[in-house]
């Protein structure tokens, strides 16, 4: 029971601090799941990150479901995901109650204020997967470089990043196993 509670608390914090969505949540997720609790090793964290990119849904939900299950089974999965979703929704309801008049203009201004913060978080989110890729050797580094090129030059991959990841996963089976 106490495990489920600490899972819920950890993911409520992830939910509340998840500004900017998606990848900018990674530093907070990494802190909660790797540094602070030790629920995941760095290798596992990178696996969850990789998995979240080839499965539907935001990384925070994917991480909550994964770690919840790993720590406390289906019940852990359920309550981790619930806490992750409920905490920011409570914040949203408070904001809606206060800003019922003109939330649009205020939220636009707030989004501009968030921009440099999100840029900083995104930069930090690159550290873990990039470090792992460098550690994985010359083939992984080559894949990274090819990936950069494809993401910049090829319209199909630019518009469908998951397609790139599936191709790279298959390439990884042959080159990196």
């Amino acid at each position: 029971m106490s495990t489920v509670l600490s899972l819920a608390l950890a993911f409520a914090q992830v939910g509340i601090g998840a500004f900017g969505g998606g990848l900018s949540t990674l530093p907070l997720i990494e802190y909660q799941l790797v540094t602070h609790t030790g629920w995941l090793t760095h290798e596992q964290f990178n696996q969850v990150l990789a998995m979240s990119q080839v499965t539907p849904g935001p990384i925070a939900i994917n991480a909550a479901t994964f770690v919840g299950y790993q720590q406390a089974g289906v019940l852990g999965s359920f309550f981790s995901t619930l806490a992750l979703v409920a905490a920011p929704l409570a914040a949203l309801c408070i904001v809606l109650a206060i800003l019922d008049r003109a939330p649009a203009e205020k939220s636009k201004k707030f989004k501009l204020l968030l921009r440099p913060l999100v840029a900083g978080l995104l930069t930090l989110s690159l550290l873990s997967p990039l470090r792992a890729t460098v550690d994985n050797g010359i083939y992984a580094i080559t894949l990274f470089a090819v990936g950069l090129l494809l993401m910049v030059k090829v319209k199909f991959f630019k518009e469908n990043p998951p397609a790139l990841l599936f191709v790279f996963g298959l390439a990884g089976i042959f080159l990196l196993s």
Binding site: G21, G22, Q44, Q53, I59, A104, L122, L126, N136
Partner: protein, 177 residues
Amino acid sequence: MGIFEIFLFFCRISAVTFGGGIVMLGMVQLEAEKRGDIPADELADMVSLAASMPGPMAVSISWLFGRRYHGVAGAVAGVLGAITPPFLTVLILTPIILKYSDVPQVRGFFHGVLAGTSAIITVVVVKNVKTALSAGWWNVVPFALVIAMIGVFKIHPLITILVVIALQFLRERAVSR
């Protein structure tokens, strides 16, 4: 739109949206514009608010969207629709990943995906950092502060995020005076 229809609407979008975040917002906006029963400017306001709130954007947009049609019941239906596909997918995959994570081919697959993820994040980082830093000299301060506090001084990311948001508000007030 009926309550069950709201659930299905978000189920469908969420099931085919990988990575979550901004992509999900774009998909919802696109699909909703096709239906045409919410005015475009109201839709844009919902998207803007969802993007500036904490928590996965898929969750906040489905809450706002469902609420627009059917109050709290619609909001809950929207959120459930958005989280069911990722929740079930990862719930099924997690035991498999935990069991086979040491198989070389599985590791190879993840290392390949991770190399691709690093490339994608790099592209996202470059784009975001450029936009954020070109919007004014001050933006360098929160940007650098986030990286220093989390990356160098290992301060809790949630505390860092709240401190930087507070700083941004103070600065905004000082400038507009």
